[in-house]
Amino acid sequence: MAVELTTPLSEREILKLRAGDVVYLSGVIYTARDLAHMKIIKEGAPFDPRGAVIYHSGPVVRKKENFEIVSAGPTTSARMNKYLDKILDMGVKGIIGKGGMQPEPFGKYRAVYFAFTGGAGSLAAKSIRRVVEVYWLEELGIPEAVWVLDVKDFPLIVGIDAFGNSLYSNHR
């Protein structure tokens, strides 16, 4: 099944998704990886986390007049497992990454893990229309900053659904 979804995501929408479904995601998403997660847990998110989608990614960025995302595939999500409960408890409804995560919290908090192909950064950048905003750039640097990205039809696979079913569970 292929579904088109726009952020922020509602519980009603994500309960319809099943592991293995293809989703074309549009709207605003937020990048965050190791250091940004530590800071979000400590200080709170610089964006409204309710219904938000977080993208585990540290992009290659070119600065002309505006910031331009050159390449932006996902990073290994498992490193963010230790923050997962707290992040989902804040109301985040979707996480995009690669390699999979612990499935249980997705069932508990009714959220979805979307997989994009690791390494395919040049292709992912094609789905990014523009950089809306960037938080914590000075402090954390390009890969670790929170980039607010406007995406259009970002092609994803549901890796873990809101019932905790995981495409990865048989392979780990």
Partner: protein, 278 residues
């Protein structure tokens, strides 16, 4: 010469080498589930975009690692370290690369600082292998000090366990470099250098060649598949290098490489002519 090193870095991060592309295309034909096809199709598309638009295929442009085989009679030898530093700094701005060097104490981003391995050799040529190494696959690296009794069977057990444990994290289909023997440091260095060999090429010692093939087959029977989401292709190749060991030791270094196996080579002749290839 700085320009040539920059161009070799650009080649490495924007163009996936032909041997790797061919192997990925074969994997695409072999796989038959929608998820495996989805991932391999994305991989092949990303490779095409990278080459056409001359942009990094993967956003993790890695820790840029240089293996320098330095001919002691080459007149440019004294400049090479500086040239590598300045070319990488320029490459970071111009290609651009992601600044990937982080101060361990302060977490401050320092730009891109190279890791350079030197080997002095006779002769008048300098050969540099460039290996921009991504963090996801590097995090799966392993060192084990096995006992001589465990031997090659122990190596196999260790590698299979590690591949299973890492699952989708190193961006499969992976390429594995394995160093056996030497010391703890040499085993890992051999493992990383093994990744520079062309895909499909077997070790010239038939016994090691067979071991590479056995490992590859066993890894691909695990079902981990592209991106760890199931499939027939978990590894594209396995490369083993060996060195003499201490009587008490059987060191094994394992280095994972992602499908985006970026590499480039350049050679500087005694009169400063440069040749770049992949």
């Amino acid at each position: 010469m700085e320009e040539a090193i920059l161009e070799a870095i650009r080649l490495a991060v924007t163009k996936i080498p032909d041997d790797v592309v061919k192997s990925l295309q074969e994997a695409y034909k072999r796989e038959n589930t929608p998820t495996a096809k989805f991932n391999l199709e994305n991989i092949l598309k990303a490779i095409e975009i990278g080459e056409k638009e001359r942009i990094p295929v993967c956003q993790d442009t890695g820790t840029v690692t240089f293996f320098v085989e330095a001919g002691v009679r080459n007149p440019y030898l004294g400049m090479i370290k500086e040239l590598i530093n300045s070319a990488l700094e320029k490459a970071t701005r111009e290609i651009p690369l992601r600044p990937n060097s982080i101060n361990v104490l302060t977490n401050k981003n320092l730009g891109n600082l190279p890791i350079v391995h030197w080997e002095l050799v006779n002769g008048d040529r300098i050969r540099i292998a460039i290996l921009p190494k991504g963090g996801g696959s590097e995090n799966c690296s392993a060192l084990a000090m096995l006992t001589p009794a465990e031997g090659f069977e122990g190596v196999k057990r260790l590698v299979i366990e590690k591949v299973k444990e890492c699952g989708g994290k190193p961006c499969p289909p992976i390429i594995l470099g394995i160093g056996i023997g030497g010391s703890s440091d040499l085993a890992l260095k051999l493992a990383k250098k093994a990744l520079l060999r062309p895909l499909g090429e077997r070790h010239k010692d038939g016994r090691i060649a067979r071991f590479e093939e056995e490992l590859l087959e066993e890894i691909n029977s695990l079902g981990i598949g592209p991106m760890g989401m199931g499939g027939k292709t978990t590894a594209l190749d396995v490369k083993v290098e060996v060195a003499p060991r201490h009587p008490a030791s059987f060191p094994v270094g394992v280095v994972f490489q992602c499908w985006a196996h970026r590499k480039a080579f350049l050679e500087i002749s005694e009169n400063g002519e440069v040749r770049i290839w992949q």
